[in-house]
Amino acid sequence: MDDHDFDSSNDTGELAEFEERLRRLPRPPVPPGLEDRLLAQIPAAPPRRRLRRVGPSIAAACLAAAAAVALMIVLRPAPPAIRSLATDLPAAKQCAAPQASAPIEEPAAPLPSTEDVMLAIEREGRAARMLALADILDAHPSGREQAKLNRRYVLSAYGDTRAAKALQDQPRPNTPTTNKENSNG
């Protein structure tokens, strides 16, 4: 007779009786003096868990704040002018150090003249200032047109024909700064 037959052949009364026998099974005796030993183990002072909890909490909060600051620094977007100059400006590209991934055999680009470098620095500074000003102006409804104008100046200075055309087409109520590059392009 297998387990299934055994189980199914027994009525519920027998099962209940078996369960009752289990419940009445004598329990191990409690050793004398156990309660006293446990009572002696009770801490005399309130547990120090609160202090212990406060320490790690403060440490965790400081760590989280430091991590957040570090993350903000790392993820802070670079100013648009710097981004565009780093990628678009031919003079800046010429001045930049050769990339680590560039092949060693590649002939080095000819050194730019001092005048070119000075011009690039000036353009970079002007573009950065104009774009930063555009960002500030954008925050005010009355300054949005001026911000748009600033951006067009910068874009046209770096060869964006659409920006240059828009700049020529529109009336020029405000010229933010005199732009040496615009006279060329």
Binding site: D3, F6, D7, N10, L15, F18, E19, R21, L22, R23, R24, L25, P26, R27, P28, P29, V30, P31, L34, E35, R37, L38, L39, Q41, I42, P43, A44, A45, P46, P47, R49
Partner: protein, 183 residues
Amino acid sequence: MEAQSAERLLAVRVADGDRHACAELVHRYHAQVYRMMATLCRDEHQAEDLTQETFAACWAGARGFDGRSSLGAWLRRIAYHKFIDSLRRRRLAPPPATVDAPEPVDPARPVDALLADEAARNLRAAVDALPAGGREVIVLHYLEGLSFREVAYVLDEPAGTVKWRVSAALGELRRLMKDAMET
């Protein structure tokens, strides 16, 4: 509901380091915790050590009692975790039985008493012979008198799984008893 509130209040007082509350907790539950440990461990010294560890953990973590279960079930849950930890520490199977159940003998009916004692001893041996998982649920449900829900809380398993395990362990237990009677 009142009993639950009283238990929660007792747990809060224990968490606040109230020595009287701690003493009350020991007085109420030390025997239950020790007996459960002794039945699971089958070693009275280890059972006593684990009982002490259980109450020490209780003093430190009484604030963790959330009232979802009875205080007794919560203590048994801590005790059960201590038991599992001890098994992991030893990395050994539970040692052979050294805890003797009391042997009540009625002088007026010595034969009946001896027969009853013999049956109880056989049943105890069968419980001890169960695999660990089956023994746990039998001990907690039948010997400790916990409901399926409370056993589920102690073992951190769904109540349905516990019911199935109890049923399977009961079948195995009856098979062991039948085999013992036949041999």
